[in-house]
Amino acid sequence: MTLPSRFRPASDSIIDFPAETSCFQIEGLGLAYGGKPALRGISLRVPRHRVTAFIGPSGCGKSTLLRALNRLHDLNEEVSHEGWVLLEGQDIHAPDVAVDELRRRVGMVFQVPNPFPMSIYENVAFGLRLQGGLTRRRMDDIVEWALHAAALWDEVKDRLRASAWSLSGGQQQRLVIARSLAVRPEVLLLDEPASALDPISTLKIEELIRSLKSQLTLILVTHNMQQAARVSDYTAFLQDGELVEYAPTDTLFTNPSLRRTENYITGRMA
C-alpha cells in the first residue's frame, strides 16, 4: 500500500524507521470526540521488538493514541477519525478487518488492574477459551507458559483455582499481562501499567516489560519520565494532541532537539 507523500515525517525532530522493520505505521492520524479534536496529524512508526514510550502532559492525547491502535474507540459512537493506522502493512480500519481478531493481535493492559471475577487459571485461559479448540493439556501448558512469561508462576502455582481478586495489586497487574500474553499477541499496549502500584511492584513490572521485548513489540504510555527513560528504547513526546518529538530515548532525554521537549522533561512546564 502506498501512502501520499504528505504523510511522511515532516520534521527532523521525528525519527523514521523503514516500513519493513515497523510494526505499526501511523500516518496522519487525527481523532475527535464529538467534533472536538483530540489528536491531530500524528505520523510515526513503531519498531518491532522494541519498547516505545508515549509521554506528555495530562490530556495530551497519549492514551487516546494508544487506544486508537486496537480500535478500542469503536465502542464510543462519538469518536471519529481520519488518517491511517497500519499493522504490519495492513490498514486496521479496512472493512475486511475483524476487530476482535485485531485486538487479539494487539493486546492491552490498563492503568487499574482488571482481572475478571474468576480463578487465576480462568483469567489466563479466558482468551484461549474464546478461540476454542484447545485440549485441556494444551490449555494447561499455555497458561503455565504465560504465567512464567509474566513472572508470576512461582507466586501462584499452588493456588491457580483461587480467586484472582485475592492477589495483590502488583500480582493482579502481572496476571493481566499473563492473560494478554496467553493469546500470543504481536503487540502489547500498556496504558500507565504501574501508576496504581507501589514502588516494588512497579519495579517488577518494568523488569517484565524489558524482558518481554524479545517476544513482542511493546508500547508504553506513562506520565513517569524516569520510567520511560528506564524501560523504553524510543520515546515519543506528545503535546496538545500533536506529536512534538520522537527519538531514541537516550537522545530525547539528554539532547532533545526542540525547546518544547526540553521544557517538559526538565519540568519547566507542567
Binding site: E77, M108, F116, G127, R179, V183
Partner: protein, 517 residues
C-alpha cells in the same frame, strides 16, 4: 471506622442526634408492629385457662377472659368472655359487668373441645359411650382418658381414610374416566369404597355426654371432635405441646367454617407458588430489557425516554395492573385460549377466568420496572475496565456481555428479584381481579397430570387476611386469626427474601464487583 469512638464537633451534635433519633424511632415502630402481630397471633393458640364465673343473679358461665373495658354508661368495667357452646347459647361471646361477678374460680375438670361444627365447647365431660347405650355416669378421670384414647384412634382412622382417597380412589376414578369398562378397576373401586364405608362406620357410633357450666347437657358425636384439652389441669409442658400442635394445625390444615377457623395451608402454598412463578416470569424479561437498554441500544434521547417511562411504571397503582390483567390476560388471551383449545368445555371457562397463571403474569408486569431498574444499575456499576479487558483479549461484544458483564451483574439482578418479591408477595388488590379465591381447597399442584394447574384459582395469605377480617360472621373470633395470618405473611415474605439474599451473597462472593482498595 468506629462510630462510637468518634467525637463529633459541637455543630454536628444536633444533626447526629436527629438522625440517630429517626433511626431509633423507625426501629421502635417496626419492632412494636412485629411484637403486636407476633404476640396477638401466637397467643391465639395457647390453651388459656378457663374460668367459671358465678353472677349475682345466679347465672353460671364458663369461658376464657379476653379483655376488659370501662362500661359505656355508669361506673365499673365489663369483661369479655369467650364461652363457646354456640349450639347451646346461640352466641359465643359474653360481656359481663365485673361488679356483678360473685365468684371466679378455675375448676380443674373443665374441658375445652374443638369441634368440626358449632366451634368450641366449654364445660364438663360426663361420660363417653355408644349411641345406643345411654351413657351413664362414670368417674371423671376414666371418661377423660377414654375420650383421649378415642380421639387418637379417630385421628388414625381419619388419616387412613384420607390416604385411601388420595392413593386408591382418585387414581381408580381417573382410570375409569379414561376407560369406563375396565372390569378389574371397577372391582377395585367397589372394594375401596367398601373400605371407606367401613372406616366411616368405625368412626361413627360413639358419643360424649357433655354438660355446660350451668348444667345443660348435650350429646356430642365423637367424630366431630378434633381436639380436647383440660386447660386448668394441664402442666406447662402439656400446654406447650398443645400450643405447638395448634400452631402446626394452623400451618398444615385447610380453613373451616367459612375461613373463621382451621388453618391456612392452601393460602401459604398459593402465596409462595404465585411469588415463585412471578419471579420465574419477571426475571428473564426484566434482565433482557435491562441488557438491551444498557448494552445494546444506541444511547440517546429515545433510550432515556424509555428509561423514564419504565421508572414511572413502578409508580402506577397496583389495581390498575389488576384491571389490565383482567382485560388483557384473562378475557383477551385466556378467552382466546378457551376458544381454540378448550371449546368442548365452554361456556364454563378454563383459562378465561382468573387463575394462577394470570395472577403471576399480572404481578410479573407489576414488578418488571423494579427488576429492570435494579439490573440496569448493576450493569452500569460494572467498571469499564472489565469490559475493555475482555474486548482487548479479542472478545466480541456478545462474548464480553455473556462471560464477564452478566455474571458480574447477577447480584444486582437478584437485588431486583428481592425487591420484586417483597412487592409482589404483599400485593392483594390486583389479585382480586385476576384469580385469588376465598376458598380453594385444591392447591394448584397435585399428582394429576400436568401436576401444576396454572388455570386454577388459588388462595393467598393477603387476601385471606382481608376475607377473614371483613367477611366473617364473627369479628371477635376472626381477630386473632387475622393477626396470626398477618404474622405468617410477614414470615413468608421474610423467608422468600432471605432465600434471594442468600443467593445474592453466594453470587457476590463468586462474581461480585471488586471492592476498590
Amino acid at each position: 471506622m468506629k462510630f462510637g469512638k468518634r467525637r463529633l464537633p459541637r455543630s454536628e451534635g444536633p444533626w447526629a442526634w436527629l438522625a440517630a433519633g429517626s433511626v431509633a424511632l423507625s426501629l421502635l415502630m417496626l419492632g412494636g408492629l412485629m411484637l403486636l402481630i407476633g404476640a396477638r397471633g401466637l397467643a391465639h393458640f395457647w390453651p388459656a385457662s378457663v374460668e367459671q364465673i358465678e353472677m349475682d343473679d345466679g347465672r353460671v358461665v364458663a369461658g376464657h377472659a379476653v379483655r376488659e373495658l370501662p362500661l359505656e354508661r355508669g361506673q365499673g368495667r365489663e369483661r369479655l368472655y369467650f364461652t363457646g357452646n354456640r349450639d347451646l347459647d346461640g352466641q359465643v361471646w359474653h360481656w359481663l359487668p365485673v361488679d356483678a361477678i360473685v365468684a371466679r374460680e378455675r375448676p380443674r375438670d373443665l374441658v375445652v373441645l374443638e369441634r368440626r361444627h358449632h366451634g368450641m365447647f366449654i364445660g364438663r365431660l360426663i361420660a363417653v359411650g355408644d349411641v345406643e347405650a345411654t351413657p351413664g355416669q362414670q368417674p371423671q378421670r376414666a371418661g377423660w382418658a377414654r375420650l383421649q384414647a378415642r380421639l387418637a384412634a379417630l385421628e388414625k382412622l381419619r388419616s387412613e381414610r384420607e390416604r385411601l382417597h388420595r392413593e386408591v380412589l382418585r387414581p381408580l376414578i381417573r382410570q375409569l374416566d379414561a376407560d369406563p369398562d375396565a372390569a378389574d378397576a371397577q372391582r377395585a373401586l367397589a372394594e375401596a369404597n367398601a373400605r371407606v364405608h367401613d372406616l366411616q362406620q368405625a368412626m361413627r357410633g360413639e358419643v360424649a355426654l357433655l354438660e355446660s357450666a350451668d348444667g345443660r347437657r348435650l350429646l356430642q358425636p365423637l367424630d366431630e371432635v378434633l381436639r380436647a384439652w383440660q386447660p386448668n389441669a394441664m402442666p406447662l409442658a402439656q400446654k406447650l405441646a398443645a400450643w405447638a400442635d395448634g400452631v402446626w394445625r394452623f400451618l398444615a390444615e385447610g380453613p373451616r367454617d367459612g375461613n373463621s377457623a382451621g388453618g391456612v395451608w392452601p393460602a401459604i402454598f398459593g402465596t409462595v407458588l404465585m411469588v415463585l412463578l412471578m419471579s420465574l416470569l419477571v426475571t428473564p424479561f426484566g434482565v433482557l430489557a435491562a441488557v438491551y437498554l444498557n448494552e445494546v441500544a444506541h444511547q440517546g434521547r429515545w433510550t432515556n425516554l424509555v428509561r423514564i417511562a419504565v421508572r414511572n411504571l413502578a409508580g402506577v397503582p397496583s389495581i390498575v395492573y389488576g384491571v389490565f390483567g383482567l382485560g388483557v390476560f384473562v378475557y383477551g388471551i385466556g378467552g382466546s385460549l378457551d376458544e381454540w383449545f378448550f371449546s368442548d368445555t365452554l361456556p364454563s371457562p378454563t383459562f378465561g377466568t382468573g387463575g394462577l397463571l394470570w395472577a403471576s403474569l399480572t404481578l410479573a408486569l407489576l414488578t418488571l420496572p423494579v427488576v429492570v431498574v435494579a439490573t440496569e444499575e448493576g450493569l452500569a456499576r460494572i467498571p469499564a475496565e472489565q469490559r475493555e479487558g475482555a474486548l482487548a483479549l479479542g472478545a466480541t461484544r456478545f462474548e464480553t456481555l455473556s462471560r464477564v458483564v452478566l455474571p458480574m451483574a447477577v447480584p444486582a439482578m437478584l437485588t431486583g428479584v428481592i425487591l420484586a418479591v417483597a412487592r409482589a408477595a404483599g400485593e392483594v388488590a390486583p389479585l382480586l381481579l385476576v384469580g385469588v379465591a376465598k376458598l380453594a381447597p385444591q392447591v394448584p399442584v397435585d399428582g394429576e397430570f400436568p401436576f401444576l394447574h396454572l388455570e386454577r384459582k388459588f388462595m393467598h395469605l393477603g387476601y385471606h387476611i382481608y376475607d377473614t377480617a371483613f367477611h366473617g360472621s364473627d369479628v371477635q373470633a376472626a381477630m386473632p386469626l387475622v393477626f396470626a395470618t398477618a404474622l405468617l405473611l410477614v414470615l413468608v415474605i421474610l423467608m422468600l427474601n432471605l432465600t434471594a439474599i442468600f443467593l445474592r451473597h453466594y453470587f457476590r462472593a463468586r462474581h461480585g464487583v471488586q471492592p476498590r482498595p
